[in-house]
Symmetry: C2
Subunit: 258 residues, 2 copies
């Protein structure tokens, strides 16, 4: 792999000497990078199987163990999913079992129920400066703004305002959003080829303003959770900014620390 002589063991670290003064990078890291590139180039699509470890090992001219270590890390980063006996698959948001992978809201009682979605708005506009900055766009670039409400057992609980780079989401309409079954990020994958890899959230407590109060069917001034999410795709490129208001009367945001 990567300009390495075809010989065996000792060659692995020889790469170090080839270059000027590069940071040393283990083989399995380089393999990781190559695999991510293939994912990025959609050589294998979400939900599909990638080549077997043995095949990848022979392709990259390294041992199976090295490929294993690379895949192991990609699996713990949730980019890949291993299934014993079947293969290794590209992770996807478009599956039932991983629904709401990014939604940390849980009913106080315990059992998570399905959500009803209602799309209030979907329009294209020039990005406000704060949005543009967060999404790494030039001022004046167009963004798609989506506004929606999530309800559980008939009660509105979440009000989301979502901004997406217009460049990447050409042809996104309220109709498409409404028609699609499954999580929104699934639609983004299949329709626009945009995969959300990870996200950073900033959480605050705020008082409901008039508009939020009406849409969430609560009194103005009610304390709400404000969740600002920046979603990133490969190479940590930001592709979604989302501002959510959560009514936490009968739900809570759960988090695990370790």
């Amino acid at each position: 792999m990567v300009a390495s002589p075809p010989s065996s063991n000792p060659a692995a670290h020889a790469r170090l000497a080839d270059l000027d003064a590069p940071a040393f990078s283990p083989l399995y890291q380089q393999i990781k990078t190559l695999i991510v590139r293939s994912l990025q180039a959609a050589e294998w699509k979400p939900g599909e199987a990638i080549p077997s470890e043995i095949e990848l090992a022979s392709r990259f001219k390294v041992s199976q163990g090295t490929v294993r270590k690379a895949i192991d890390e990609l699996a713990t980063e949730n980019l890949l999913v291993r299934r014993q006996g079947k293969g290794t698959f590209v992770a996807t948001h478009a599956e039932q079992n991983v629904q709401f992978r990014f939604l940390r809201l849980t009913p106080d009682g315990g059992e998570a129920a399905g959500a009803q979605r209602r799309f209030i708005d979907c329009r294209r506009l020039r990005a406000p400066s704060d949005i543009a900055r967060a999404l790494n766009l030039k001022p004046g670039d167009t963004v798609v703004q989506v506004r929606r409400v999530l309800s559980f057992r008939g009660s509105p609980v979440v009000l989301d305002d979502i901004w997406l780079p217009g460049q990447l989401f050409k042809g996104l309409t309220a109709e498409k959003l409404s028609e699609y079954r499954g999580p929104m990020y699934g639609l983004f994958e299949t329709e626009f080829g945009v995969r959300m890899i990870r996200a950073e959230e900033k959480i605050r407590a705020v008082a409901a303003d008039d508009g939020a109060a009406q849409l969430l069917d609560i009194a103005m001034g009610t304390a709400l959770l404000s969740v600002e999410r920046l979603s990133l795709t490969y190479d940590d490129k930001p592709v979604e900014l989302r501002r959510g208001l959560y009514n936490t009367m009968s739900h809570h945001y759960r988090n695990e620390l370790s």
Copy 2:
């Protein structure tokens, strides 16, 4: 290790046949369990080095690779910390660099500053029923309750109410809390031998009541983040319940999703 013949490779899986109908458990999992037991028994204390991989391998009669895999997982679970060239160490809260490992509050500007602590109260009492339930205590067991305020740059930001099982925290006083330099969990480790391994948080938005408003120097009714944390030690045994109120005017709770 574990009733295994001293022979080499094929013996590893023989354990499967030894027992009735046990769930198959890989060797490295069993090693993990043994290491955790030693941690639990304080055979190695927080901050200390555990034996080298080679030594553990010979002790458990397995290969170094198997020990490595066990330690790898314990390291990603933050029970151990690897330091190349030096050894593997028992993770600890009593260190500068991991201060606030469990406090996800960040100033909006960016730079995290040191916190000033002020202890308002530290008393022993019979556990209220909800506290007892959460901590897995019998009704009527005594708990230690601590109330404190954290300030940043002179402004009060966090009001914490903390409940601890009285059984485990004999002799905990406001004075000890005030005197101790470093994070509270560091004191718990060194003074009481209680190690916080992981925690679950439930987050809500609430309105400040009179008492909280005064202590946090804000108007009554201000929206606050309510963070209820249940901290667990080995074997997922709950050892702390904490109810925090965070003023998020100039700070936010940050979270990473993946």
